[in-house]
Symmetry: C2
DNA sequence: TTCATTGCCTGACTAAAGTCAGCTAATGGA
DNA sequence: TCCATTAGCTGACTTTAGTCAGGCAATGAA
């Protein structure tokens, strides 16, 4: 059997649907029908409006209503009108409800751990990487870019990935101590910013904007996680950084880069950046770029 | 959110279950309840005993019975006693049934293609690779090793992977024309054999046994697909090759290998192979090994 | 103030899925 | 030959899921 893309997808489907079924079966096993369990977990600790639950779980209005009544009857959920619009109603888990949600959570964790345990040492990392890649590909349209503090754990995780990549790619290796490392203050509002891209909560890329309170800013630390490459995320991060730079009052952006980062260099050239003479003494840089971003510039 | 293994698995689960749901929804959309469609597809072109269907789909005996009656009523399936044991009954698809199965198949193909289409060029290969890895990890216990002809398409696919790996790994590159390439006849019974490992139908590894009709055989072309590495498949292939060698009347096995293949060399040393002086003039070889396999040897 | 709209609920269904006890026929060993 | 076992079937259920037509109260624009 020659395996083309389609049969490989279908084989994947077949293989995973059993696994997924097992993971989802954590929604059973507490003596509650699937529908109720799903609604309860969707409400979770934060609560949710009835409409939000209906949309997320694709439930009929009447059916959801009944499921909520049943959960109320079990003392797991309380539904109250939204003070902002008293037609709308907000469902919240009670103390007991929260305990149930936590129990479901533990069940899911156990199943996930069991899946991992079946795969000893060596395979783990590769397996998780493959899972990340698929989750990113499937959830590509859900990737969101947000401002974050450069010391935020997600930002740190991205930076670790970034430094790791540089150390691997640069023919000289990479030592952050040797590089021109910007002060964290330069990467925070009001002078600069730090953007993190997340896919379903997992950090998958970053881009820093270094400012000095002037009209010239600098783009630093553009990075995309291996699992999220090929989805056009670098472009999106750069576009977000430019938009943010405008918001911070910058009119010109600069950046420096190493010759090993060919994909990034290609991106810069493609998106309106102009190569310029060195504007700093960054020891790892071989190319310097500039882009005027002010509207009508 | 720091992502540990468990949350990554759960995130993967969440991401894929939607996708899988969409792929599985091909079981709907032909105006037949899910249960019937699943049973019909399980019967497929080959037919199946009632017990096998029951086990595979985890259906209650009574429920399955009713589903079969309904499918019979629609003229899609015929159930007849198994001549070998007339208590047991075998369900087979009728002509119309086969057409229906084919239609479901096309639906699945379409969904799979749609999934791939959403991911343009660059991502495809990486995505499929990730899918293969997960399917292999999940289906590891279903990997089977069979005899195949060295010209069989699956065998060829493995050999392409093998040559590709060698070309990448050897510091000299690799040209099959320069290497001592055994005649296909030497890799076929009654003197030799060619083993292919498959996971749910996908070729994931191979191992050749070159014979000359004497008591000394040679192990060649041990290869495991990247997606199936870390699952202990190389060990299994070597063990299968040894067993097959005994069956072909060999008492001693030899092999040569390149110094770049450190994992393979480690495996040989671990499993009772003894390094010996060069026994051939293979230009790509740096190490030669030998193992006595005759029982009590 | 009127009135269409929105958001959710209830009642009255149907369909699908799942459960369980008891039945019959075939099998194979004592 | 007897009889325990196996394989599957049937009838008589219950539960879960899903649908749809109203209904009522809150809302907000005319």
């Amino acid at each position: 059997m020659e395996m083309d893309g389609i049969s490989r997808v279908r084989r994947f489907n077949r293989a995973v649907s059993t696994e997924i079924g097992a993971l989802d079966s954590s929604f059973l096993g507490r003596g509650r029908p699937l529908g109720e369990a799903r609604v309860l977990c969707r409400i979770g600790a934060k609560g949710a409006t009835v409409a939000a639950i209906r949309d997320d779980l694709a439930l009929d209005s009447g059916l959801l209503s009944r499921l909520l009544r049943s959960l109320e009857g079990q003392g797991l959920v309380e539904v109250a009108p939204d003070p902002a619009d008293r037609r709308r109603r907000i469902a919240r888990a009670t103390k007991r409800g929260l305990r149930e949600v936590a129990a479901y959570d533990r069940l899911s964790d156990t199943r996930a751990a069991a899946l991992l345990e079946r795969h000893s040492g060596r395979t783990w990392a590769a397996l998780l990487e493959a899972m990340d890649r698929i989750a990113c590909a499937v959830g590509a349209e859900r990737i969101v870019i947000d401002t974050a503090d450069p010391h935020d754990p997600d930002a740190r995780q991205c930076l670790e990935g970034y430094y790791g990549d540089l150390a691997r790619l640069f023919d000289t290796g990479f030592d952050p101590a040797v590089s021109l490392d910007p002060e964290p203050e330069a990467l925070r509002p009001p002078v600069g910013d730090f953007l993190v891209a997340r896919c379903d909560g997992m950090p998958v890329g970053c881009c820093a904007l270094k400012g000095a309170g002037s009209a010239v800013g600098e783009v630093k630390r553009l990075w995309v996680a291996p699992a999220a490459r090929g989805l056009g995320l670098a472009e999106r991060l750069m576009a977000a950084a430019e938009a943010r730079a405008l918001g911070l009052g910058m009119t010109t952006l600069r950046l420096d880069t190493n010759r090993a980062l060919t994909a990034a260099i290609g991106l810069y050239r493609r998106t309106g950046w102009r190569e310029v003479p060195a504007f700093n003494a960054e020891p790892y840089a071989h190319h310097w770029f500039e882009k005027r971003i002010a509207p009508g510039g």
